[in-house]
Symmetry: C2
Subunit: 382 residues, 2 copies
């Protein structure tokens, strides 16, 4: 597989009260088109990733809506898979190019969350969970708290180790002008923030975010582009009660295993990765499930700075700040991960640039692991 | 393009108060799997078409949900494009096979509409329209009524001609045991039914329907399968006010033009077609826009029986009863069209069988023509 990311763009992530979803989309796509240097007329299809527009805003049919808004009279599709919508849209777009039907396609991830009451957003997000979980009154922080508690019991993971994920990612975000949060935080700040769902505190949780991200994919690499060399999806049960284990997300393991096989590399070759850290425990699960560290060791290693800018041994994790601190506009997240890795491989990340990054990875999760999408990218040196 | 439909199935369409979306999906998929004769384990990906689950039921992430329900631990996606969701899912699944990533995939279209209040359904359906249309208080019957009125003024189309579409399709539905309506109706019954949005009366409108349809697509045709030889999508503005013409759906014209070119045949070669008749005027527009008849002549020709079972000259239109009388479970419709054409090409339609059908077509529209999807199928004679 060899699909080039020839252009990328994203809006600032944050609480963008004054900005409409249409304006977010125009902003991200304009950047991607300018970046690609290609005429908008060459774009042959549009894949829109969004989760909540129907539930919260009653607007469906976003493919056609954004095609019109962007002045593109081309086939347009909406792809949904909860918080993995962006990753699934990238995967679907990659396959559409491999099919031979299209040469150049646009993927747009967009989500506007702050226009709605917090309890509405919380309820809408549970659309990604199982019926039983909703009936039990579970929320996503609650479900991930169960996973965190199980991990702590199985491996002795501590609240301080969880907090170290947040500290690392807020530090990275402080080097990213487009991140929702611009200031580093301390372990103490995380540990003393209000409890959301024990053991997860406010600063263990990713925020509610508005934002959009866009990439233009092509079968023809351009100079200094990044190339997608693996794109894999895996599925698990919707609810966590049906799983064999609460300390691993099997879909992550499966998708990453297939992706590494497809790319013919291992996680030791990855220099920079964006992983799905909707909660601090999620980054710990991701690093262990993909094989970056042994099971049970992620918290300790993150706390030691093994995956931080400046002190990383091998690989920097969530250089953008991740979902945790760059922000998590649900449908946009998986696309923004590709934007960040592309920027890293092209050496355009300024203060947060990972030196000599040649291989990058993105990992996008839907729900509590019912869907996982893994992409591996390589720096193209034409 | 040569993608085989190796298995197909659908539930009875109708007001299925006692049946859950999960049960609908199981029923349709079980039929498709049995029909294909292939082991469920060979299915490599699942494409779910649905429009309203998020808006009406707050359940998202349907890919993973139905994968779990069906016992399939495979990559799963939700594709949405309003009433064209089913057609878009088929198209996306076709491309995924052409990509070489998958050999055999399952497409499931499913919609449960009767669990909700009529005004909620009506409002949710407007998610397919433009913001301006919603703010103006427009409904889909109202928007199609505007198109009907424009057509009547431009071409002298009469209310009786509109009614003849309903009469034909109810007659066809009376030959289809799975159709929502089982009785023929008269022109007078249509003309005297209550006015919904002048000139459209109750019997000019497709109903609110529950149902599911499923097909298994493969790159390897089996004996007596149908083969998709063209799959094309086109997009237009979301709102009708932005269009150049109100008497044509440009997306239909474009998608069908590209599909006929891809299949290297013309509409004269088509023996049986399922077209998007959400309202009687929609079938008239479809036949004219795809070139089955000259502009302005569809109503007259339909009234003469040119496209009816038993009296058709060349091609039978909506042998299933169409959206109008077989029913219109939004996300399932585009998939069910493929089921009907596959059944016709395989000679399994009993009383409504079109003799010697070798080429078939499906035409699926989202909104008032913002999305159009056209597939052309050929009887495989292994």
């Amino acid at each position: 597989m060899n699909i080039a990311v020839i252009g990328s763009g994203m809006t600032v992530f944050g609480e963008l009260w004054e900005t409409s979803p249409r304006a977010l989309a125009r902003d991200a796509v304009k950047q991607a088109v300018v970046d690609s240097g290609c005429d908008k007329k060459n774009i042959q299809a549009l894949y829109v990733a969004n989760m909540l527009s129907g539930t919260l805003g009653t607007q469906g049919h976003l493919g056609a809506l954004f095609a019109e808004e962007l002045g593109l009279s081309i086939p347009a599709y909406t792809i949904e898979g909860a918080c993995a919508s962006g990753g699934l849209a990238i995967h679907t777009a990659v396959l559409s190019i491999l099919s031979g039907e299209y040469e150049t396609v646009l993927v747009l991830g967009v989500e506007k969350m702050t226009d709605h009451k917090p309890e509405e957003v919380s309820s809408a997000l549970m659309g990604a969970g199982s019926n039983e979980e909703r009936l039990a009154g579970a929320t996503f922080p609650g479900l991930y708290a169960i996973l965190a508690r199980a991990h702590m019991e199985a491996y002795g993971t501590t609240e301080k180790e969880l907090a170290s994920v947040a500290v690392k990612n807020h530090f990275h975000a402080s080097c990213n002008p487009k991140a929702q949060y611009q200031k580093p935080i301390s372990i103490e700040a995380v540990l003393h923030s209000s409890c959301v769902a024990d053991p997860l505190k406010l600063l263990d949780c990713s925020p509610v975010t508005d934002g959009a991200a866009a990439v233009i994919l092509s079968k023809k690499p351009t100079k200094n582009s990044a190339v997608i060399i693996a794109s894999q999806v895996a599925t698990d049960t919707l609810g966590i009660a049906e799983r064999k284990s609460l300390t691993t997300l099997a879909a992550t393991t499966e998708a990453s295993y297939k992706a590494f096989a497809q790319a013919s590399i291992s996680c030791k070759d990855i220099h920079v990765a964006e992983v799905h850290d909707c909660f601090t425990i999620a980054e710990i699960l991701a690093l262990e499930d993909m094989g970056f560290v042994k099971k049970g060791e992620a918290g300790k290693r993150i706390g030691e700075g093994t995956f931080s800018l400046g002190t990383a041994k091998q690989c920097v994790i969530n250089s953008s700040g991740g979902l945790k601190a760059c922000g998590h506009p649900v449908g946009a997240t998986g696309v923004k991960q590709i934007v960040e890795i592309t920027d890293q491989l092209r050496g355009r990340c300024g203060k947060r640039q990972v030196k000599n990054a040649r291989f990058g990875l993105t990992h996008n999760v839907g729900g509590t692991g019912a869907t996982a999408v893994v992409h591996i990218l390589r720096k193209e040196s034409l």
